[in-house]
Amino acid sequence: MTMVGDSIARSDAGAKVQGGAMYGVDHREVGMLHGAILRSPVAAGRIVSLDTSAAEALAGVYLVCSAADQPETMAGWVLKDQRLFATGNVRFEGEPIALVVAEDRATALAGVAAIALVIDELPGVDLETACSSEARVIHPDWQSYVPAGGEAADYPRRGNVAAEMRAEPAGVDEAFARAAQVIEDRFTTNRQYQAYLEPKAAVATYADGRYTIHTSVQHPYNVRERVAQLLGVRVSAVRVVGKTIGGGFGGKLDASVEPIAAFAAKLTGRPVKIRNTRTEDILTCPSRENAIVTMRTALDADGVMIARDVTVEMDNGAFSAEMPWLASLPLHILGAIYELAGPTRVISRLWYTNTAPTGAFRGVGGTYLYMALEQHTDHIANTLLVDRLQFRRAHLIHDGSASLSGQVLGDAGILAEGYDELERVAPWQQVLADLKPWQGVGIASGVWMTNPMPGQATVKMNEDGTVHVITGATENGSGALTMGVTQIVAHELGVNAANVYVTMPDTDVSGYDAGSQGSRTTHIVGRAALDAAIEVKRQLFDVAANLLEADPADLTIVDGRVSVVGSPAVSIDIADVANAALWTVGAVAATSSYTSPAIPFDAGCGSGVLFTTMSTPTYHVHMAVVEIDPVTGRVKIVRYVVIQEVGRAINPVGVRGQIQGAVTQGIGLALYESLRIGADCRYLERSLEAYRLPLALDIPEVEIVLMEHPDTNGPFGAKGVAEPAVVFAPAAIINAVSHALGRSITALPVTPEEVLSIIEEIEGEA
């Protein structure tokens, strides 16, 4: 019997190892046409002319369309500031200007090349320029934009400030005025590209007034809403059917090519496929934002931290996707790890720039915020001549500590337990004593969360005793559905996990789900599926009780048979029960929904706080040991330890895969990956050859210690697992590099070139 806590193989592994899994980019329809998009070649400018006549004249071209053809509607996840095609102005390189649809892809691409486009180019506005407050306003009509949630949902924004969050408790300036010393750091981080291996693609059809879109996205309901907004139709006119997802990591939460494919399907009356080239994908993907973090801490004469002042400037890109909501993140991160003896002021601003819209990448801004906070913490400890680990332990939050939004963290003491676990597997003094020349060690720790958004699952028992779980949730590769939800349902119903099938999402069929984001699927959808399974079990027991002439309360299911507790000989196959039910109470099935309970917070904690609390918090301690090659500047990870609270590990092999993979993405952000924005606001890295991703030979075997404090709401105690390890890895690694070099590191990533320039600087001083 396969149960919760077992490392069963994921249910989709067989097709995936045989090449049989069909991804979004693999989908095709009979009579399908191919679309290719003319994208803005510059970051900013005014469209002077767009002559598509040569493209229209090409043999095999069915359609050329652009802003002149589009519906008069605005769209956006949080703020409606977007159109289908660039209208009058272009605001980032890669912005769609026109579409060519042809009988094959080569002809469509030739059509795009034949379009004569004239743009009066303007100087692009980047983050530094935007922050200077003298920059050109990128959206002169910003005041007319309406939040997706309606006028009442509006939030602080003005001009190029796409969102602003301010938490300004009393006494900060006074504390700085009386400080004995002030520790100050300024950190920068570059963008990080999700670099999922499957570039975005979609196939759309149109019939009977409705659009059907086959695509591999993490959040089908969100894509459905965006398509409906952009095309000016109600959401039920759009059906999104999920395909196997070739990785997403946040980059496939919002629509990309889907709305344009749908628009073209209606205009041509034929199925239309659009797929990104890798370069198009890089240019338009909602990458992790670049940002500037300034952090000041006031210390009194005894070295006590009496106040902190933090400003975070985040790059929104040319349009607002999910980012206005994420602008609140600094408030949560900066107060939820070390306690100060005084107030913390946090101001975060999100800036419109002439760059691709940014968005969620696993761990979102937590990556660079924790890097800044932990490097700053090392700076303080080193200044005070206190051991870095001791300093952390002395200031850790504890059970009942409150976050800066006033959320009481009832179980924050798990953090100290994490440090105890670290000491057990990597005794600190021993680690320090064992360091060789050019080696350094770094620690990072803190709290992360489990996305609370709603999800629904239907569990139905088939006449052969197998089980279907119908859900709009998506299997992005994490195993949340093919291991987590599968095992949860199998466990509850007493059937083999091999007899549980989780469907692909289909917004016409499956209930609402908020997508694979923020480690929520196992926790939220797992809970919904568990509740539905409990009801299915109740229905089965009611029917079986009659057949077995027993009390339902005395029944159990073992290995697919319903039996009387204590009398295993009195039993019946669940298939027979399910069949009997058809002719009495009806088919055995149940639907349940779940969303995390609202958490009390202090409404007066600040303004513009769009997301207010950290749901289902988890606690984490990471340690990295690195070795620097002073000749090449290469940083090798010698040892990496993760202590992670998971609630309950539903599938230990799966949990390990999530942590190992997340640390690897953190190593990428810390040491290699950098999507740089040039002086013309265009990306410098435009291919996987130029954008350096971690390879097998870069990555250590991560040592993992799981802490399990079951969550009362989570299915069998499970909390979010997939995201947190990427959040803390850059911080631990940067602190280790900083320790090895004896220098502050103030920019992510620290590439070999950066390391060499720091070494040169040190040698120059010597």
């Binding site: 190892v17 991804y23 670099a195 499957e198 190992q660 996987l688 971690p694």
Partner: protein, 165 residues
């Protein structure tokens, strides 16, 4: 257009190709073998890896015309339908698969390695995989799958990564 005869997964067949057509295009669009994936079209990610006369190549930058007279093995040709080769089984058992988009390329690459060197070290596996990018797993469980197959092969007479056909 020219006609090219080649052997794909044990079957002889002819395809009509343009000089610019890549082997990947022909496999996916003409032959209908969609298991070989397109990730970058610049020979960087390895998702399109196939075997040509037993050696792994990036089919996205390999001219289809150059495959004439050669044996091409794709992910679909590594085991009988419904069956798994040892490295495929090891990926399933050990968590070597997440999103799976890179998986065909990794399995083809490791199949070639294990045929050439049935008992590779971790470093040899890492080097063999230097042309394959996985964004999900962090590589450990993939490397362990290869080590598991190697360990099994050196303790039994069955050749590792054996082709079923």
């Amino acid at each position: 257009m020219m006609s090219v005869s080649l052997n794909i997964n044990g079957r002889d067949r002819s395809v009509n190709v343009d000089g610019a057509d890549t082997l990947l295009d022909v496999l996916r669009e003409q032959v209908g073998l969609l298991g070989t994936k397109e990730g970058c079209v610049e020979g960087e990610c390895g998702a399109c890896t196939v075997l040509i006369d037993g050696a792994p190549v990036d089919s996205c930058i390999y001219a289809a015309a150059a495959a004439g007279g050669r044996q091409v093995t794709t992910i679909e040709g590594l085991a009988r339908p419904g069956d798994y080769s040892p490295i495929q089984q090891a990926f399933i058992d050990g968590g070597g698969v997440q999103c799976g988009f890179c998986t065909p390329g990794f399995i083809v690459t490791l199949t070639a390695l294990l045929r050439r060197n049935p008992d590779p070290s971790r470093d040899e596996i890492n080097n063999a995989l230097s042309g394959n990018i996985c964004r999900c797993t962090g590589y450990s469980q993939i490397i362990e799958a290869a080590l598991l197959v190697a360990a099994a092969a050196t303790s039994t007479p069955t050749p590792a990564g054996a082709v079923a056909q």
